[in-house]
Amino acid sequence: MGFNAKDALNEFWSSRVSKLGVFFMVTLFAISFYVLVSYPSNFGTSYWNRPQHWADYPKAVPPTWTQMLTSDKKAQHQILVTDEVYVRDKGIRALEYSIRFNYKADEYPKFTSFSLSELTFYDDPPFVYLTLERPDGTVIEDLLFHSIPYPSPGDEPPFVKYVESPLRIYLPGSSEVNSALSRFVRSEYELGLTPLDIGNSGQEQYIFGTPDSEGNFDQPLTGSYTMKIRVETFHEDDTVGSVKFVVGGTVFGYMGTDTLGRDLAVGLLFGFPVALFIGFITSTLTTIVGSVLGIWGGYVGGRTDDVIQRVSDILNNLPQLPILIFLVFILGQNIWNIILVLVFFGWPGLTILVRSMVLQAKEEQFIEASVAIGASRSWIMARHIFPQVAPFIFTQMIFYTPSAILAEAALSFLGLGDPSLPTWGQILERGFQTGAIYLGYWWWIIPPGLLIVITALCFVFIAQGLEPVVNPRLRRRR
């Protein structure tokens, strides 16, 4: 086919929208390819949906570049890990770690946390002490004290803990830290603040700040801090794998985080290939089923046609969304179920259109000529009918892709998405459910929706560009 394939291409290319569409499409594919290559396939279940993976991240903070919109310097998120240990043997044996970091911001961190992984001990469980040295020389002694719990009765040494999941202490949740801070501000600044006061107004002010003349801790102390970690052990063979200190930033990443601390940039990226996958598979399957049935019914006529017509008429008249919801609800939230159901609803529309085109196409005299020379029905359908309707079918296929993507997004938004495969719709669903809108977390709400719109638009543009190619009446040049 393609008696003027070159003309067709020129025609397509001549409009601005087509170029835009193709440009977007190429970008989408490039990003999807990158994601497919660099992300594991079980991303959804092993990473995205496992809260422990995101434990060290700040929760619900905007992206780092929002910093440029305000004059305040935001707190950067810092995850500081070290395994360089200094073993002190004199006196009480201790494993000492030292983490140095810089803090430069006009506001306080969102939280701090301490973790310890891979502890092996042989005797009594160790004690952990944290001491913070601040840039102005002040030192918060024993900011955190934690005694590792005793092993369960019946266990034998060596006792190995914190291998799969580390010991994690979230400082704002610890009343002992509040007490330590209360002592600190009393001794250092002669301020009488109870641990309760400290807990209520936010620990971070006191950890990282100094009071002004009125006793307000408005400005953080910028400069170099050193966190000293001491693990007092009771056996010479006790070891620790690594220690970590997290300074929770008030901004994070390219796209911010959600309430679970998930890096939205990562989640959004993963959505690219998923969206394309859903769109293409659904539209391809729908197109195949729809056009085969349309061509067959339209050409063969008779009882077959009647049956196909009745069925597609009935299916076409079903209200889509409620039944879609029902089926996914009952059959299970699985991407293949969703695709199947979307195809199930999609094909009748195409069949009806294709059939009416075929009814006209089969009246052409060259069809009769082919019958006269002995062509079988399938020959004629494939060689003579199909080329006539092919351009239309192809355009429809492009047009269906965004519908499929939008439909999946709507299902996900209602909570019926496939949980093992994060999509943009699901990200929005989480946002909606946790009230992100009412809390003003725009970075969570706007990007996923925008991506959906852009993706859908690029297909619409391409389909619009293809229209004059398929429908000669609309051509601009000829």
């Binding site: 008429d313 008249n317 409620p322 919801i325």
Partner: protein, 348 residues
């Protein structure tokens, strides 16, 4: 009457739609074992209540157990659990079709009834209010703007609206709603973020009405944004196509004034397919309203459906799916009848 016959055929098709839906739902429920589980849960619930009632009066545990078991067997037989699910189909279909819809698990009407029938009766009008208003406004916009820009094809306004309709196709309605809430309710704080009335709602008629209006602006705007895009474009296309036909040129050549040509020759002819699409859209936006109501917390059937999903209330979901299908089918049927009056060429 030939028309009568064709309407009957259409009516039959639509009836089949309802039947097929019910069949589909019930087959799916049966084949996946869902209905068995549901009925079991229902029966166990009732048995438990029965047992609690009896415990007061009957002391002997074995006697108690015997009576309870009896009761359970009676229930099992009544619900047909003793038969395989295909045999339960006719009964289930009959029950739903006669509106014996049962009770909801977690939802209540304003007056406290959990009967699904009451719930639907309470919620449906609110959905209809939302949808018909939005559809009405969109249709109006579509018709007026569409015909206007059809008179100036290729102009900037024309191209603007063409792009606008492409854009509104790609825009998910529910996201637009969320965006509106973010902008107008969160940042600008000039409109409420959801619900139908303030809490507590005003009691006098006019303030109450204004309050309703106030709450309805955002959801209606969201729906209008989504619907009007395609309708403006559709109207424009249909009017343009008709305007290019020869009989219009003849009318002009005869010297008829332009607005007469417009009204009688162009719009009158282009109207039927446009109106078809609008009414089709109305039926379709019923489903789409599920999303809008969810986003805005508008207490209509859509929100009820959303609640049913979230609380896994199977009985409610089935009942609502059925009601949605029914409404859709009725709307379509009205369309078919109306269409006959609008287009004298209808012959099928």
């Amino acid at each position: 009457m030939r028309l009568g016959r064709n309407l009957l055929v259409r009516g039959f098709t639509l009836l089949m739609v309802v039947v097929v839906t019910l069949l589909l739902m019930n087959v799916v429920l049966g084949a996946t074992g869902f209905s068995d589980r549901m009925l079991n849960a229902l029966i166990n619930d009732q048995v438990r209540i029965y047992r609690q009632g009896l415990v007061q009066t009957i002391q002997d545990p074995t006697e108690l157990q015997r009576i309870v078991n009896n009761y359970k067997d009676v229930l099992i037989e009544a619900y047909g659990l003793d038969k395989p699910w295909p045999m339960r189909l006719p009964q289930m279909i009959w029950r739903v079709m006669t509106f014996d819809l049962g009770k909801a698990k977690n939802a209540q009407t304003f007056k406290g009834s959990t009967e699904i029938y009451d719930l639907i009766a309470e919620r449906l009008p609110k959905s209809i209010l939302l949808i018909t208003t939005s559809v009405g406004i969109s249709a109006l916009l579509g018709l007026t703007i569409g015909t206007k820009i059809a008179t100036m094809p290729g102009s900037k306004i024309d191209r603007f609206f063409s792009n606008y309709s492409a854009f509104s196709y790609a825009l998910p309605t529910w996201w637009t709603g969320i965006l509106f809430i973010l902008i107008f309710a969160q940042y600008l704080r000039i409109l409420p973020p959801g619900g139908m009335y303030s809490a507590p709602p005003p009691t006098e008629a006019i303030p109450r009405f204004l309050d309703l209006l106030f709450h309805a602006i955002l959801p209606i705007s969201t729906l209008v944004l989504a619907l009007s895009g395609s309708w403006i474009y559709l109207t424009r296309t249909m009017v343009l196509n008709t305007a290019q036909q020869d009989f219009v040129n003849v009318a002009r050549a005869k010297g008829l004034p332009e607005n007469l040509v417009m009204r009688r020759y162009i719009i009158r002819v282009a109207a039927p397919p446009i109106i078809t699409n609008i009414i089709l859209g109305l039926a379709g936006s019923l489903s789409g309203a599920i999303l809008t109501e969810t986003v805005f917390g508008w207490p209509g059937m859509g929100l009820l459906y959303w609640n049913a999903i979230v609380t896994v209330d199977e009985g409610l979901i089935i009942a609502l799916t059925f009601v949605y299908t029914l409404i859709y089918v009725i709307a379509r049927m009205i369309l078919e009848v109306l269409y006959v009056f609008l287009d004298p060429r209808v012959e099928y």
